[in-house]
């Protein structure tokens, strides 16, 4: 097959051009291909950084509205009072040092045919390829009574930042003996073990400061990520399985599904009951970030992609990775986004040169801290199944921490979790 990539096209046109437009191809050749990255979370930041590592001739522009980014990972430690907001804050200075142009603006339009991106601030950026990592948005319509405004009273805290601060303040202000109600989301959602880690770390905080308080998790699901490990931790530290259990998990089958949120009454209505809370944390159902819908590349709630390149199946030249994509075999985690971003960067760098995309390799490792000196993890090693366009888990590898692991190993995993945090942040934004 004869392929015309960008470079050969420029050479061809340059060679045959009449004197009138001879300047243009020369400039284009010197400038190098342009990639616009939308979103400065772990996925977008890693993609931008690794593109420059792979090919410094690529001009990378990353567009992200916020000048400071707060990581969702480790934000549950902030809720527990074990970490400050500064401890989950990252800036974009590191990316700038790699020669990436960082623009703080909101992308409002992506023109796949015209290969350009427009922003709220009125800027336009042309690209040869676009990488979109917009993360999640909330599917408020799927949860009657709840809205962005309601989240100012009943915070989701599922995008770290002001919402994290708000929920922490509410937990601090809650009197001892209060009830903390959490509404867990239906699958699939960002950070599958996250709600249960949050319940654990809020219990860890209550145990120290408000020991008469209770936690009720209302869940539309009948099972959850790392469930046995969490329940073991809850039994060890928070009285799970006794009448004095601090955490009560109500599965869908037992009426846990939320039907309606009563914001004025600070309550959640289920099939059988109306449950009131002193603090109510509603984590809504989720979907891909707004710009993916605006670009018209979604199917259902997520973006279908080629799992080997993360290129949209609906719009050539736009790659979507991380939480927004339908790479469902891998959990929607920060590590997944970081790993997918490197695969995507490799593919984009190759495609820009007219080469075949390289064979992908992906990993996810995700730690959950359930209390003092108590942590466990899930890991997965993945390859690309080209025939099925699927990310396939390597059989026999990965899986959960052992249920019978020693206290020493649970404690070591806390330290490894904190190491993971520092390294993944530096690898993504540093």
């Amino acid at each position: 097959m004869t392929t015309f990539n960008r470079r050969t096209f420029i050479q061809l046109t340059g060679a045959g051009t009449a004197a009138g437009i001879i300047g243009a191809p020369m400039v284009a050749r010197a400038a190098g291909p342009k990639v616009v990255v939308i979103g400065g979370g772990p996925g977008g930041a890693t993609a931008a950084k690794y593109l420059r590592r792979l090919d410094p001739s690529i001009e990378v522009t990353l567009i992200e509205p916020n000048k400071e980014y707060f990581t969702c990972f480790m934000s549950n430690e902030v809720l527990a009072g074990d970490r400050t907001m500064d401890g989950i804050k990252v800036t974009y200075d590191g990316l700038k040092k790699h020669g990436i142009t960082v623009v703080h603006d909101l992308v409002t339009g992506v023109d796949a045919a015209g290969k350009k991106v427009t922003t709220k601030g009125g800027q336009t950026f042309a690209y040869d390829r676009c990488i979109m990592a917009p993360g999640i948005d909330f599917n408020f319509e799927a949860l009657p009574g709840f809205s962005a405004e309601a989240a100012e009273k009943m915070p989701h805290a599922w995008k770290a930042g002001p919402q994290t601060v708000l929920l922490r303040k509410q937990l601090e202000a809650m009197p001892d003996g209060g009830v903390f109600v959490m509404v867990a989301p239906p699958n699939p959602f960002r950070c599958p073990p996250g709600p249960y880690e949050r319940a654990s770390l809020v219990a860890h905080y209550f145990k120290q400061h408000k020991p008469k308080s209770k936690i009720i998790i209302l869940d539309p699901k009948d099972s959850f990520s790392k469930q046995k490990l969490f329940e073991q931790a809850w039994a060890k530290m928070y009285g799970h399985g006794t009448p004095n259990s601090m955490i009560e998990w109500v599965p869908g089958a037992k009426g846990g599904k939320p039907n309606k949120i009563d914001v004025a009454g600070m309550a959640v209505e289920t099939d059988f009951d109306t449950i009131k809370g002193a603090v109510v944390n509603v984590i809504p159902p989720q979907k891909a970030g707004k710009i993916a819908f605006d670009a018209g590349i979604t199917e259902g709630n997520w973006v279908p992609v080629n799992k080997g390149t993360f290129e949209s199946l609906k719009a050539a030249g736009i790659h979507v990775l991380g939480d927004a994509s339908d790479a469902a075999t891998m959990p929607k985690s920060g590590y997944s986004a970081n790993s997918q971003a490197k695969v995507c960067a490799g593919a984009v760098a190759a495609l820009l040169k007219g080469k075949e995309p390289p064979t992908p390799a992906y990993v996810n490792t995700c730690y959950s801290i359930a209390g003092k000196d108590h942590c466990f993890s899930v890991a997965g090693v993945y390859t690309y199944d080209k025939d099925k366009n699927a990310i396939a888990e390597v059989a026999g590898a990965g899986g959960l921490s052992k249920l019978d692991a020693s206290d020493e190993d649970r404690k070591r995993e806390v330290s490894y979790a904190h190491s993971w945090y520092r390294n993944v942040v530096a690898d993504s934004w540093g």
Partner: protein, 200 residues
């Protein structure tokens, strides 16, 4: 070149791009050493240089030691929290490719909190008990781990596993460990590790 020819070429280039982008693209068989190694960075740091506090730096390890570690994790011979699960995801050839990649990368030594008294004691002890295998202040690791600047908690975990019989010791290492315990007591290990953690 006429404008219509430019347009035709543009169209051809776009069609080619679409074909390349499709799910049917023939990808090469094996992930490159770099692509494989990139999957480690989330925990072990970019190019295997960990910021810690505990996850070890895997840059600059000898191929022999890297391969042995991964194979021992795979078989369960070496105790682990997570590496046993991850090592099983790679073939022997892939492990070797990653080993060669990381061996070329620099060991970046970052400041770690250490006890100055222990560092001083440990330096003398290391010279007597460790230097014969962990040469040049532990910077060289032919078939053994690089200790100079390695993460202190990680080295402490390793010693706990060695002394507790959970991790097998090589014959000469076992002799040295026993001599150190008998002659200086178990606390001597911690002094030695503080010293190695401090080496720049």
């Amino acid at each position: 070149m006429t404008p219509s020819r430019v347009r035709r070429l543009l169209t051809a280039s776009m069609v080619a791009g679409l074909t390349l982008a499709g799910a049917g693209t023939a990808l090469a068989q094996t992930a490159s050493p770099e692509a494989l190694a990139n999957t480690c960075a989330g925990c072990h740091g970019t190019d295997g240089a960990s910021l810690g506090p505990s996850t070890p730096t895997i840059a600059s390890l000898s191929v022999e030691y890297f391969v042995m570690s991964m194979k021992d994790y795979k078989t369960g011979k070496r105790p682990a929290t997570v590496m046993d699960r991850i090592a099983k995801g790679y073939s022997d050839e892939q492990i070797e490719a990653m080993a060669k990649y990381f061996q070329q990368k620099p060991f970046v030594r970052v400041n770690q909190p250490v006890d100055a008294g222990k560092v001083k004691d440990g330096k003398a002890l290391a010279k007597k008990y460790c230097e014969s295998c962990h040469e040049e202040e532990g910077k060289i690791g032919e078939g053994v781990g690089v200790l100079a600047g390695q993460k202190l908690p990680y080295m402490q975990y390793s010693v706990v596993d060695f002394l507790g019989g959970k991790r097998e010791m090589e014959k000469r290492q076992k002799q040295k460990f026993e001599a150190l315990v008998n002659e200086k007591g178990k606390d001597a290990f911690d002094s030695i590790l503080h010293y190695y953690a401090s080496v720049k």
